[in-house]
Subunit: 307 residues, 2 copies
């Protein structure tokens, strides 16, 4: 397998979790606090349940506490709001996430705004997203963009002057990641489904981020020779045998011979995203003890990469 | 002058102010409310004083109230904070701005965060900036990006699929404007001082935004034939005669024969920025009467362009 230029997300995610387990133990020793993640799920979408279970297990693996609050599909906005308000004021809870997508009758923006900024470990509260634009690195940042940035830094010492192309402009991934990469000194182009000639942009990219949710959109002629390719897309497709298969946005086999490095799907960005959710929860727990917390180990991890 | 392909910012700004004056009169008639802008200035930087006076005069011109709070250069963070807190809870004040730049001993991010989100008529509070990423168009948006977007829409019916290049990635202009243009369906490239070959990107841009604060950075070979050029830069330079001259980021005379349309400096983005500050204050005043305010005239102006 040595000849495949993989960025192994599982390996890096596990490395982080080993480190986090140690940090969690230290926090417990010094302050008698166990980081506690509250997860809210509405309805029982199968994919959401898989993701939620992965998060619960990841918490267990680093000796963190998690509590899952499951609501029926028809739960009202007021019900979810009330739970968030209660969790906001519960000193034993350090992080709160609401598993997306939410049912159509619930206003996801309003729900996100209800979460206390310092417990928003998904980093999706407008305040935390806006802090990215301000270049304020002391807040909670969104997990998938952090995962992508970390994986890129595994392969590159500095990002200053690198040419990045981001396919897909979602509020969850493309936009915040792009802002973070701009702050790192990158030239960043955002393309979307209306871009007349996407390959014109992708072919020049030293770093290509595929976050469109469009299976195998990226073919060999879209990729610059020697590029670093980060595949955020993950689409579940039932194949001819009736088996569910996960597709990335990148046709891995078609592009692998051209790239310097590439993340696989699965096993790339996904596991790292979960590790950053844990990291954010540990940061939130640390900050519950010392609001200014300049030098805890987790914070140093961020500073290394994001200052 | 007809052959010069100007986007006349003064003309459009005055058109908006005529309209706003009418809206202000309607609000006064219906609710006995006069939109009131509070301006905080710290120190007496000459350029800041010019800008502040322009804002005060613009308020007068549309029959809005403004109050200027001037603090000495050495005022403490606590002093400014206390004034903002008082203005936040003053029901007679609808909009609050703190003139930038602030003295180095004051943390501008913390100051911006202190302003109530619904009175943040500069649109620079992290919550309001983050709402741009979420695509939430119901909040207060930053004035200079709104000004640029409006001027672009004067020349183009739809922005979907347009290729935009933004020179400069500040939190005040480049970043939020780029996010807004992405939401309009544009392909957007952000370049900065570390971009190896800036002309490679600028030469392809249907819409070129210069917001670097670098006088006459943009020369003819950077501009695509037929482009729309928006010049946000404004730098005051003392020339050989000892006279202060304002320079844009674009060498107007050098590029004017290539462009479809271009904003001049002065008289382009600047006056429109002030008009959007007034607009935001009127919106804030309307919302103080009716929080949900779906259909007031100012809001419709926004919906036309930003939905």
């Amino acid at each position: 397998m040595n000849h495949i230029p993989l960025i192994d997300g599982r390996h890096h995610a596990n490395r982080m979790r080993t480190y986090l387990k140690d940090v969690v133990a230290q926090l417990h020793l010094s302050s008698n606090i166990k980081p506690h993640l509250a997860i809210i799920q509405v309805g029982n979408d199968a994919a959401s349940t898989v993701y939620v279970q992965a998060k619960v297990k990841a918490c267990e693996a680093v000796d963190m506490t998690s509590t899952l609050y499951s609501f029926p599909q028809e739960a009202t906005q007021d019900t979810i709001d009330a739970k968030i308000v209660a969790l906001n004021s519960d000193a034993m809870v350090h992080g709160i996430i609401v598993q997306l997508p939410l049912p159509a009758h619930i206003n996801a923006f309003d729900i996100t705004c209800k979460i206390a900024v310092h417990k928003d470990v998904d980093g999706l509260h407008p305040f935390n997203q806006g802090a990215l634009i301000a270049g304020h690195v002391d807040g909670l940042m969104p997990c998938t963009p952090l995962a992508c940035l970390d994986l890129i830094y595994q392969e590159m010492e500095s990002l200053v002057g690198q040419n990045v192309c981001i396919i897909g402009c979602s509020k969850l991934v493309g936009l915040p990641l792009g802002v973070m990469l701009i702050k790192q000194g990158c030239t960043v182009t955002f393309i979307n489904r209306s871009t007349p000639n996407p390959a014109h942009f992708t072919q020049c990219a030293d770093i290509l981020i595929a976050a469109a949710g469009s299976p195998h959109l990226v073919q060999a002629d879209w990729v610059k020779q020697g590029a670093v390719v980060i595949d955020v897309g993950i689409t579940r497709i039932i194949n001819a045998d009736g088996k569910a298969v996960l597709y990335g946005d990148v046709d891995f086999d078609a592009v692998v011979s051209k790239v310097h490095k590439i993340t696989p799907v699965p096993g790339g960005v996904g596991p790292m995203t979960v590790s950053y959710l844990l990291t954010n929860t540990v940061i939130a727990a640390y900050k519950s003890v010392d609001k200014d917390m300049p030098n805890n180990p987790v914070h140093q991890l961020f500073e290394k990469q994001l200052s």
